[in-house]
Subunit: 255 residues, 2 copies
């Protein structure tokens, strides 16, 4: 049997994302963001590379510019914030404008709100929660019903962390994912400058394994976490063994 | 006496800023950022408007592009992260490149390191901590000596929160600041859709007071914080009184 089977296994396509956090309250410091870290960790876990995060004000021009820049640069764009019922919630309208599509009260979204509210309680403010750009797919909100949505490659979610998480989990099965980034780490009992040379040497020997050095100060002692990341588990293990062999003899390590 | 004194008092110039958070570890979710919220709150407190935040990878091209985009758009750019001693710390070199200036071991920075390290301990890795772009002003690091720096309108700080805070406090007296944004708020015992109409009406009556609505869920009850912001204390107080007068009679409020 002759064949053209590749010598190397084909690597899965890289799937990338950006996150656009929308809200004056984050930029003023009034509210501490709790979504960036969660979305970053979730993306890593499911095999999506979060490449960039931007935090912008409740400003339509800024949201439109950033949404268009990011959606052409990455596989997916997640947004958080600005989809509530008040006048400062302008995300849905801004995203419709970014895509050049119309927006109005969506009957599917109204049906979801009816599961929670009596007809008489569907006030104009509540109906704002059902404004969805034309052509968008709704994202279920198991916490408070008012849905998020996905249009093109842009995933629009609430800013309230519990609701954002519910929406992120709801949309995840629809997302394309790539090779999962595997991580391993070594903790050493010295400041990072003591391991800078062996780490740089190891990085040169294993260019396909990304290596980072994260110093910490704990219980009165300096230490450093050396973190290795790769989609290739075998290379990752080899790089870790190589790095350990390069550590100075007086350095204790764990991991 | 005839004169040309302005009828309205001259408003202080607006001073703006962006923050560039540099680090793979934030984008992978391994490290939760603790600097955005602190810097945002500090800027608000001293009269600088933080307009935008970006989180980028340890990637020189990305850092150069973002640093140049932001430094031309805002009065100041703060950066955090990537100024340690290891190979993945590329912020100083990237900022030098963004400004088109050379970079090398800075004798002033070495002198600071000598306050902490014996001559024999000034290893090549530690000397990386003294790489400073030509023409930059050093920023004191009272925690661990290795300085940050300011070049043009870009302020480069460490990523470790305790060190970042020390550097931010050290550079603050050198920064130009504008009118302080004053904030007041009203807490109501209802979900935000119940106050959306009065809030929007009040916003129309006081366009110079920025108004936001932030829902919360606490002890099993929904509530909303209505936040008003302005550089004009008198208009802020009037707007607050106006908003309270517009609340539906069955709504309880505090603040």
């Amino acid at each position: 049997m002759t064949g053209n089977a590749p010598v190397h296994s084909v690597l899965p396509e890289e799937v990338t994302a950006a996150l656009l956090v929308i809200g004056d309250e984050i930029l003023s410091g009034r509210t501490k963001d709790k979504n960036i870290g969660f979305i970053a960790g979730h993306c890593t876990e499911i095999g999506i590379r979060l490449r960039e995060v931007r935090v912008v004000a409740d400003d339509e021009a800024a949201i439109v510019t950033d949404a268009n820049a990011l959606r052409t640069a990455y596989t997916y764009v997640f947004t958080t914030g600005g989809i509530g019922p008040t006048h400062d919630d302008i995300t849905a309208d801004s995203i419709a404008r970014a895509f050049g599509v119309s927006i109005g009260v969506d009957s599917r979204a109204v049906a979801l709100l009816r599961e929670r509210y009596a007809e008489a309680d569907l006030t104009p403010a509540r109906l704002r929660l059902a404004r969805i750009p034309a052509g968008a797919q709704l994202i279920e909100n198991s916490v408070s019903k008012a849905p998020g949505f996905m249009i093109g490659n842009v995933i629009v979610m609430a800013g309230v962390p519990a609701i954002m998480r519910a929406m992120l989990l709801a949309i995840t099965p629809s997302l394309r994912t790539g090779a999962k980034l595997l991580t391993d780490s070594i903790g050493v009992n010295v400041p990072e400058n003591r391991v800078a040379v062996p780490l740089a040497d190891c990085q040169r020997a294993f260019p396909e394994v990304a290596m980072g050095s994260y110093p910490f100060f704990e219980d009165g002692r300096y230490g450093t976490d050396l973190v290795l990341r790769s989609t290739d588990g075998a290379r990752l293990a080899l790089a870790k063994a190589d790095l350990i062999s390069r550590l100075p003899p007086d350095v204790s390590f764990s991991g």
